[in-house]
């Protein structure tokens, strides 16, 4: 098993002991965090607009920088430099904490994601034995953030948005995790590196091409289930119900401006990427792929999931909140249980 990023850093710095572990952890976390933030910065203000623009047959930002890419700088700085409006009657600590909770919960999830290696360095911060459980646990803290934002804003639209968010996350968290468990049964471990390793065998060879034993290929049904549940988890069409611009203005983010709005917006995008990272790790062989370094493949996979969410967003209608709950509790939950039981049975038969 390869060394983790903090150890690599502390070895390179030549500091051992507790200080070394601490420094290595902090620097490693900063690196990984920045890496993810750069991705969201590219996605949020610029690439998302370009992608949507091509769905809509228009051009998107193209006037500053190459392909309009400097809009990233302009948008980010402008949003941060705006006046922070604190509306009357907001519930102060909760209102301030909510954006941070949302953004940090998603970012925390990346701590255990194996992002492959570059130049021989394995980019993974930690590899606890309960890795997958950790990711799900951390990611679902976001629901708390949403409720806080919705409740504390002293705005009825926000309140409705917050309530919708929590109802939605409850309905979809369980199928999401159950589907994840079916993979755990296959891999026999919750540890992320084990899950990736379990997918590295070759399933079958078609001529010169080796088809890897990714769980997404072994069990496409689980992958589909997971992708749908994940859309609901990150709140994108057809499940963008907590935000629902034409119904409840901007949902839980209605009253947020300036830096807090940036944090909420970032949080959403990090969540999409975290969802992508989980899909990549659990179903698509993690950073595995031919020729290119692992981290590039990892990026390709999370961006593919991102593209998928944007595709859904621009072409699928939003369903109604009661329909969403119905689909979650009556449809996906059953399907994910069925998936779990069938998987368990197959694994059991194979083991015998």
């Amino acid at each position: 098993m390869s060394t983790l990023l903090p150890e690599t850093i502390s070895d390179a710095l030549g500091i051992g002991g507790v200080t070394g572990t601490f420094l290595g952890g902090v620097i490693g976390a900063a690196l990984v965090g920045s890496f993810i933030l750069v991705n969201t910065a590219v996605a949020g203000p610029w690439l998302k607009r370009k992608i949507m623009a091509s769905f809509w047959e228009k051009i998107g930002p193209n006037h500053i920088g190459p392909f309009g890419s400097l809009i990233m700088v302009a948008d980010a700085v402008r949003l941060i430099s705006k006046e922070l409006v604190v509306p009357e009657g907001v519930d102060r600590p909760a209102w301030d904490l909510a954006p941070m909770v949302l953004a940090s919960s998603a970012l925390l999830g990346f701590a255990v994601i194996p992002m492959g290696s570059i130049l021989g360095i394995n980019v993974q911060l930690a590899d606890p034995e309960v890795g997958l459980a950790f990711v799900f646990a951390v990611a679902s803290i976001a629901s708390v953030g949403l409720v806080m934002a919705g409740y504390a804003s002293n705005n009825k639209f926000s309140f409705l948005g917050g309530l919708r968010a929590v109802a939605q996350n409850l309905a979809y968290e369980i199928p999401l995790i159950l589907t994840g468990i079916s993979v755990v049964i296959f891999a026999g471990s919750l540890q992320m590196s084990e899950i990736v390793a379990a997918q590295s065998q070759t399933l079958l060879s078609v001529g010169p091409v080796d088809v890897p034993a990714w769980f997404g290929i072994l069990n496409p049904f689980a992958l589909a289930l997971f992708l749908v549940a994940n859309l609901a988890e990150v709140g994108r069409n057809p499940f963008d119900i907590p935000e629902a611009p034409t119904e409840i203005v901007a949902g839980y983010q209605t009253e947020y401006s300036s830096v807090y709005f940036v944090l909420l917006y970032l949080g959403e995008f990090i969540h999409i990427f975290l969802g992508g990272a989980i899909v990549a790790t659990v179903f698509l062989g993690g950073p595995a792929g031919p020729v290119l370094p692992g981290i590039v493949w990892f990026l390709v996979k999370i961006w593919a999931v991102f593209l998928f969410t944007q595709w859904c967003r621009s072409s699928l209608p939003r369903i109604r909140v009661d329909q969403l709950i119905g689909i979650g509790w009556k449809g996906l939950l059953l399907a994910s249980f069925a998936n779990l039981i069938v998987t368990a049975a197959i694994v059991g038969v194979l083991a015998v």
């Binding site: 949507m52 769905f55 809509w56 047959e57 228009k58 009825k156 639209f157 409705l160 919708r164 069409n237 057809p238 963008d240 935000e243 629902a244 611009p245 034409t246 119904e247 409840i248 203005v249 967003r313 621009s314 072409s315 699928l316 209608p317 939003r318 369903i319 109604r320 909140v321 009661d322 329909q323």
Partner: protein, 558 residues
Amino acid sequence: MSLEQPRQRDVGVTPDGELDYDELADLLEEYLLDREEHMNAQGFVVRPDEVAAVLETLREEAGFDHLSLVTAQDYQDRYESIYHLKKYSDPTHELSVVVPTTRENPLSQSAAPVFETANWHEREAYDLVGIEYDEHPDLRRILLPETWQGHPLSSDYNQDQPQIVPLREQADPMEHKTQAPDEQDAMFVNIGPHHPATHGVLHLKTVLDGEQVVDVDPDIGYLHRCEEQMCEQSTYRHQIMPYPDRWDYISAGILNEWAYARTAETLADIEVPDYAQVIRTMSAEMCRIAAHLLAVGTFALDIYGDFTAIFMYAITDREKVQHLLEDLTGQRLMFNYLRLGGLAWDLPEPREEYFENVRNFCEYIPERLEEYHNLLTGNELFQMRVLDTGVLPPEKAKDYGCTGPVARASGIDYDLRRDDPYGYYDELEFDVVTRDGCDNFARASVRLEEIRQSARIIEQCVDLLEDWPEDEREIQSNVPRTLKPDPDTEVYKAVEGAKGELGIYIRSDGSDKPGRFKIRSPAFCNLQSMEVLAEGEYIPDMVAALGSLDIVLGEVDR
């Protein structure tokens, strides 16, 4: 196909389908004070305390089931409310019920218990003219702020007096609303006037129980820009024509202009050359396509949330039709193309090129519609959202005076282009699209199909225009420079606008400007049915229902 039950012969209809006013007068003998001659129909004058009984009798016995418009006006010596009645089965059967009241005591019985649609019409009459309606369920101001002083369309109004308008952050609905079943659980939400789903500046006072709508009260008037006053201050010949463009401003300009043209041409007895009628028909149908495209696009916007592909595609296609209209009229949105007795100018040169562009567009429309059907009506998620939501039963639709695609989606086979033909429509072939679904889905699909029918009409017009002999291309008949219709001539005429029956009532006062100019706005009547559509639905369905009604605030508020 109509959902309506076949009924025995109505009183007042001769065996060959003509209206017999004498028989109607006999029916109403006990109420009738006098009979007036209006240009479109006869007016029966009745006492102000017998309005409900008269209308009830006319509806039950004589089949006048469509209260098209309530006009209020003030004369030197009296106030007058006119109820313009029609039949959904045959809109050429018209009757006006004239209710005079004294200036000292302008109190008249309300028609709202008979026709739901009278509710808002009478509120408007109270608001603008100052007639009070007895037994009206909810007589408040509708277009102007509640603290407004005076009634601006009455003759003694001083326009320069200051006004104070309050900004009430939150009205407490429980003060005057008792419909909310349990006050503890209900939540009051102001949706609008600035809200992404209200298609402009509509304000929905909504009482929610959880996510479900308990009660909704549309609050309009945020775009009341005095269109009727503007028209009353302008001369018939040229000055009024630009205003109709701004009622239903979603590129439906020529349809609106035609409403004024038809009324004023009837009033002043002006003939319009056939050639001009064909061009009017063609351009009006282009406007209908543009308006319906936007309706479908914004409906998709409401369902899909945020700007989405369908909205963008609809706008792209609108650009195409706007190009054609711009070539023809010189403007993208506010055309000002019709003139009394004809048109501003002929088709653009070279004609062949223009015809080719139009033909290409007509061929492009059906293939494009396939795509819309794939994206919208064929989409299962979309069906899940819109089927059986926002149901408007046909009886209710008639009660609320709904017309246009909204009525046709409730199975009411009513289209003035066919039933009360004008322009060149009676020579052309097209189908009136109806659906029996009565829901949001039906309304969207009626609009999509009407786009196809409009393209058919345009093609036929192009065929006609191409073969039109060059020396008969007359675009304008002889109209005097100043029109002065005889005093006290009254006329009410309607055309099929993009949203439904768009009617105009004009009373001349002998000068070159109308004495009273009243607009029958289809969106105003359709919007009233909101309370039926939204009740018990979830917020998203209420938003979808609003989108499917396709209101334009410029026309609602005028």
